[in-house]
């Protein structure tokens, strides 16, 4: 396909734009791999090769195993509500064609907000003394928890912020899938006299299965990359119970200056991301 490019074309159209990818993506990935075999401390120019020590230390540490568990717990806690809520939003909006444009924009808008700022806002919304959420607890005669310092509230708070930011975005994918359901299915349903509940069970839910799988993987990636909300709200606490793999990576790197172990963890993150990306490619191949 396409015309044969002259060398000037290759220079301008390919070499110039690929340079930043080579320098700031490809090369760093290899450097990270190389660093994971050293004991570099970020500051001194000297380091030794420790080969697989970083990997052994990391993979056998309880910190890593805890963070791995907490990452997938957090992913699970955000995946299920995301699927349910974004499906409800998309289905409702599809039935409310006329009034939906403004509402759709409102529901999507959290996605464009900065996570740092909104996490700060949520820390005050959920503040046990002055936050409006504490009033809801008071209303039920309960004392409001100090969200960020006790479990399960700390994990719940981070989950809520994450859901708040991503549910509207996810609903776009369901909206797209619902709009692609063949119209004749509904004609058949009319003839058969299916109830709304039966339509949901036999048409809507099965027809959006590929999107459900795609969103599950995408939300897992989102959970894997969550950092700002944890940093602002809990700093990984109480006692490390909200520390995800990415949070541990930054702690190892920039608080303990153990670049070897940090980059070893980076390689673990890379492998998980590659597996998830592979899953997305497989799903897309089936959808299209």
């Amino acid at each position: 396909m396409g015309v044969k490019a002259k060398w000037q074309h290759v220079l301008i159209f390919v070499l110039v734009p690929i340079l930043p990818i080579l320098i700031f993506w490809l090369l760093p990935t290899f450097i990270a791999f190389w660093l994971s075999f050293t004991d570099w401390d970020y500051i001194s120019p000297n380091f030794d090769y420790v080969w697989f020590e970083n990997y052994v230390d990391l993979l056998t540490s309880s910190q890593f195993l805890d963070a791995l568990m907490q990452t997938f717990t957090f992913a699970f806690l955000t995946v299920v509500p995301t699927l349910i809520l974004s499906f409800i939003i998309a289905l409702s909006l599809s039935k409310l064609a006329k009034t939906s444009s403004l509402l759709r924009n409102l529901i999507f808008s959290p996605y464009v907000t900065p996570t740092v700022a909104m996490s700060i806002v949520f820390s005050w919304l959920f503040n046990p003394n002055v936050g409006p959420v504490s009033k809801i607890f008071l209303f039920f005669g309960q004392e409001a928890p100090t969200w960020s310092t006790q479990q399960p509230w700390a994990t719940l708070l981070i989950t809520i912020v994450t859901l708040w930011q991503t549910v509207g975005y996810s609903s776009i994918f369901y909206a797209d899938a619902i709009s692609r359901i063949p119209k004749d299915l509904f004609e058949v349903a009319d003839i058969e006299g299916l109830t709304n509940w039966q339509r949901l069970k036999h048409i809507y839910i099965p027809m959006v299965v590929p999107t459900t799988i795609l969103l599950t993987v995408m939300q897992t990636i989102t959970a894997l990359q969550a950092y700002e909300q944890i940093d602002v709200l809990t700093q990984g606490g109480p006692s490390g119970s909200t520390r995800t793999l990415l949070y541990l990576y930054y702690e190892l790197g920039f608080e303990r200056f153990d670049m070897g172990e940090a980059t070893a963890l980076a390689m673990v993150l890379l492998v998980i991301s590659l597996l998830l990306s592979y899953a997305i490619v497989r799903i897309n191949r089936r959808v299209v």
Binding site: P20, F24, L106, P114, P132, G168, T211, T263, V287
Partner: protein, 277 residues
């Protein structure tokens, strides 16, 4: 069987409730930014301020160089956006239109790097920029963001689906490849360019982790860094909470403005282009 009026009302109320939850934190933040410290200390949790204190915004600029942070973020975000649009358009055009040696390797590298979480590249990226004397430098920050892999995919897919007869006709007319890209292909893909621009703007204006590693002197801080530091230093005092909210409002305005003016391009095409990426 159609959805009845009653059912529609129920669905509408559900969506209205979710819409309310989506915007409430922002509305609450906005009104809180005008409250007085006394109202907060007095436990006044009401949505509206007892008395309006726009001077909270003045205090933000007094206590921290927020104007500087804001301009740093806005300036680099716009420059990065322009550079990314150009680099993505060029390489996407090459992938869609040219045959050249090493094309397979180029596409393979782009596809592989798309799967690499960017956090992995930050520690080595810092080393590379330090060696070039560009750590803690806005130039280094902009250069490190010169490519946008999502945008390359978005454009390559759009360009490939563009009407080929128009491009052929332009070639017959003797237009250079450079002119075909900017005068024929880009106008045909206006929507994709707008989506690429919005996503780039939002991602860069909101970014925190990479600038927080690279930019270490307060003169170079991006606004999210500035806000984070402001919030930990000042915001620990309850009476400073309205001022912290004022600072947060400032960091939200540009993206909300960009999104609300251009949202009609956004939602429809976003899912279509991402799902089938």
């Amino acid at each position: 069987m159609k959805t009845s009026r009653g059912q529609k009302v129920v669905l509408f109320l559900i969506v209205l409730f979710i819409g309310f939850i989506s915007v409430y934190p922002m509305i609450w933040m906005f009104f809180s930014s005008f409250k007085s410290g006394e109202q907060i200390l007095g436990g006044g949790v009401g949505l509206l301020p007892d008395s309006w204190h726009p001077e909270n915004y003045g205090i933000v600029f007094e206590r921290a160089p927020f104007a500087k942070y804001f301009l740093n973020s806005l300036g680099t975000t716009l420059v990065i956006m322009l550079i990314q649009l150009v680099t993505s358009a060029l390489i996407a055009y090459a992938i869609a239109e040219f045959k050249f040696k090493g094309k397979f390797i180029v596409t393979a590298i782009i596809a592989a790097m798309y799967m690499v979480p960017s956090d992995i590249t930050y520690i080595p990226g810092y080393i590379i920029l330090s060696n070039a004397g560009l750590n803690d430098s806005l130039v280094g920050y902009v250069l490190s963001n010169a490519a946008n892999l999502f945008m390359i995919f978005l454009f390559a897919q759009g360009f490939r689906n563009s009407s080929h007869s128009v491009i052929e006709a332009a070639r017959v007319d003797g237009l250079s490849e450079w002119s075909i890209l900017w005068r024929v292909v880009i106008p045909m893909n206006k929507n994709l360019v707008i989506i690429g621009a919005i996503t780039s703007f939002i991602a860069n204006f909101n970014s925190y982790r990479w600038p927080n590693i690279l930019l270490t002197s307060p003169d170079n801080y991006m606004i999210q860094q500035g806000l984070s530091i402001f919030s930990t230093s000042q915001g620990s005092f309850v009476e400073m909470f309205p001022v912290t909210m004022a600072a947060s409002v400032l960091t939200l305005i540009p993206c909300l403005l960009v999104y609300s003016t251009l949202s009609k391009y956004f939602i429809g095409t976003m899912s279509a282009s991402t799902v089938k990426g």
